[in-house]
């Protein structure tokens, strides 16, 4: 069992005929993901890399049994696409790659998804990869190596950097989850940590946080109740206050949102915090060692 997705998860791509949608569909297929359908209004009946395209999500679900969707639809039409997926009565998880969706819309979608029991990853996220099984999103499959480290992150390329360090040091990964860089995202650190805790394929977790919000503090509190060890990294020690650092959600308003405050929260919960991406594998080796000795 993996977390969130399985090797045989039937995947739908919304916005499959767009430039990014088509490009990443091919890469996901190459990785072995089971993509059963695409949706692009007005393009029904065509196909992209051999994947049949439908006009509507409900139609695609009825015809192919799709159960997870990856959304590449541009921001001005993504909101509609997200509601359509939730209303399709078949899609149980949505990965939203699209960035720049207005915050009030995501706030409504968040609550709508929760009340309809549909999972949401993102928006503005790189997706999820169940190593060796399936990839939903835009993560570069080649850097991952099969193993037992779960990775959960708010960022994209920084995650790749750390995953690459882990792979090179011989620490393969079970699942890697990108939560997204916006102020409001569908899934929190705590929810993913809970899934890793229950996942028999995962032995330790690497958490990659950054400035903004207090999701890391909640995670630190949750980790104290976990049996599996966690190593953290927090980006943005050098970030000035009240300035947005690229990600819409990476901004420090109150003191609690700074990298220092987050690092302190982890350290006071006895969670080791790496000072650089390359230090992550060393800390993982240490916690696994200590853990084995328990």
């Amino acid at each position: 069992m993996s977390i969130l997705i399985e090797a045989d998860t039937r995947i739908l791509i919304q916005g499959i005929t767009g430039r990014d949608g088509a490009f990443h569909t091919e890469r996901m297929l190459d990785y072995g993901s089971r993509i059963v359908a695409g949706v692009s209004p007005g393009k029904g009946g065509t196909s992209v890399h051999g994947v049949p395209v439908f006009d509507k999500v409900a139609e695609a679900v009825a015809m192919t049994g799709a159960e997870a969707s990856v959304v590449f639809v541009p921001a001005n039409r993504a909101v509609e696409a997200l509601y359509e997926a939730a209303d399709s009565r078949g899609i149980r998880m949505v990965v939203c790659i699209t960035e720049k969706i207005p915050t009030i819309d995501i706030s409504r979608i968040y609550h709508y998804y929760r009340s309809n029991l549909v999972g949401l990853l993102g928006p503005n996220c790189p997706g999820i990869i169940s190593v060796g099984k399936a990839s939903l999103g835009i993560m570069p499959g080649a850097i991952f190596k099969k193993g037992s480290i779960g990775v959960v992150s708010r960022s994209g390329t920084l995650t790749y950097e750390i995953v690459d360090c882990l792979s090179k040091a011989g620490f393969g990964q079970s699942t890697c989850v990108g939560l997204g860089g916006d102020a409001i995202v569908g899934t929190s650190f705590v929810e993913v940590l809970g899934k890793f805790e229950d996942d028999e394929e995962t032995s330790a977790v690497v958490l990659i946080g950054e400035i903004g919000g207090d999701d890391e503090q909640r995670a630190a509190e949750f980790i104290m109740s976990m049996s599996k060890p966690v190593v953290a990294f927090v980006a943005g020690v050098s970030a000035p206050r009240e300035q947005r650092m690229g990600h819409a959600g990476a901004i420090v308003f109150g003191g609690g949102e700074s990298a220092e405050a987050k690092i302190k929260a982890f350290e006071s919960a006895s969670i080791p915090v790496a000072k650089s991406p390359s230090e992550v594998p060393r800390l993982v080796a240490r916690v696994l060692n200590n853990h084995g000795g328990k």
Binding site: S107, Y160, G236, M245, G246, S278
Partner: protein
């Protein structure tokens, strides 16, 4: 995007949120003219995009034309937290009995718009949180149903005496309409005052707009045009580059916001300091690199440039070509240190080495090479 107070008042009035009569002026003589139209007394308020204006002496009361002239001249020469005062809002002074703190913001924890109120307004919320924390109330609003009659009553009852409830409920509804209608991340009215006649007035107004929502408000275009008088920054924004100038000496070009921050942190950890944050974004192309170089090299303090790319979608060879072109075009002698990893990195490294650019295998090596060069 933060707005000036005068812009915030203007937008809020369109939603029926009243504020004292006022005019915005950009020089001393217009301030006096505004005073002549508004009548005595007036309040002159420096328009700066930061808090702490009152404490910095950015608000003055004036009762005569001479006082207005003196106050305006003083305010225009003021610098508040590094911001120059370029505009003043001249408002007719009003009497009031009560000062309320009211804000509506997007709450990251509950993923809801959240009303924060206190009947003890007029001081900043941080001070209030220290001195009278029990007087601050947080009321989350369900974004799907909006402000229900029960919610507006709940909020109004916290704030007003029996005779003001209905007026306050109307105002709360208008503020919420503005919050949603403008795609705001924050609307803060502090103080929201009640006049002796029982009317409510927004004496101050702070708005932060959600940049992701701007595309559906073409009527707000004037706000961005007002401030983007820098064509290079405008071009960078158009290309999807996030750029923020800082105080240090090492320029940074990185793909991805998280990796960009981690790169800056690593520079800092080695005792040097970053000159900027720069995320070239996904699917980076040569033009983006050129614009990035131009932005960085405008700063004469920059003594070295670090390029850290982890190519997933990004093709490293394309970035490398962009670096060569930019280096030639801008004819710069500032040393460049590059590390490129991922898609097409081998050909990228060849291209860079042929142009005498120092390349590194890992991020650690990159930072170490660049910082030791600087300290040598």
């Amino acid at each position: 995007m933060k707005l000036h107070e005068y812009q915030a008042h203007k937008l809020l009035r369109d939603f029926g949120v009243p504020s004292p009569e006022g005019e915005v002026v950009f020089d001393v003589s217009s301030a006096v003219e505004a005073y002549n139209r508004l009548g005595s007394p007036v309040v002159l308020k420096a328009q700066v995009l930061c808090g702490g204006r009152g404490k910095a002496g950015g608000v003055r009361l004036a009762k005569t034309a001479e006082e207005v002239e003196r106050a305006a001249a003083a305010l225009f020469s003021l610098q508040i937290k590094g911001f120059m005062v370029e505009a003043l809002l001249i408002q007719k002074a009003v009497d009031f009995d009560e000062e309320i703190f009211f804000s509506l913001s997007m709450d990251r924890s509950s993923k809801c718009p959240c009303v924060i109120v206190s009947p003890h307004g007029g001081v900043d919320i941080e001070t209030l949180a220290l001195e009278k924390p029990e007087s601050i109330y947080r009321i989350p609003i369900d974004p799907i149903e909006g402000i229900t009659p029960q919610k507006s009553l709940e909020i109004a009852e916290i704030l007003a005496y029996s005779d003001g409830i209905q007026g306050l409920r109307d105002l709360i509804n208008k503020l919420y309409s503005a919050f949603v209608g403008l795609d705001a991340l924050l609307i803060e009215i502090n103080p929201l005052v009640r006049t002796p006649r029982g009317d409510f007035l927004a004496l101050d107004a702070k708005i932060i707009l959600d940049e992701n929502g701007l595309y559906r408000h073409p009527q707000l275009d004037f706000l961005t045009k007002d401030r983007c008088d820098d064509p290079l920054l405008a071009r960078a924004k158009e290309l999807g580059i996030s750029f923020l100038p800082l105080q240090g000496e090492i320029g940074c070009i990185v793909n991805g916001a998280g990796l960009a921050m981690a790169t800056m942190d690593a520079i800092l950890a080695r005792g040097a300091s970053p000159a900027n944050f720069l995320d070239v974004g996904g699917s980076s192309n040569m033009t983006k690199i050129e614009v990035g170089f131009e932005l960085i090299l405008r700063n004469a303090n920059v003594k070295a440039i670090i390029i850290n790319i982890f190519g997933g979608i990004t093709r490293c060879d394309e970035i490398a070509r962009g670096v060569i072109i930019a280096k030639k075009k801008l004819n710069t002698s500032v040393p460049i240190f590059a590390r490129m990893k991922g898609t097409n990195s081998e050909s990228a490294l060849k291209i860079l080495s042929s142009a005498d650019i120092v390349t590194s295998e890992t991020m650690d090596e990159l930072i170490e090479t660049a910082t030791s060069f600087l300290m040598a």
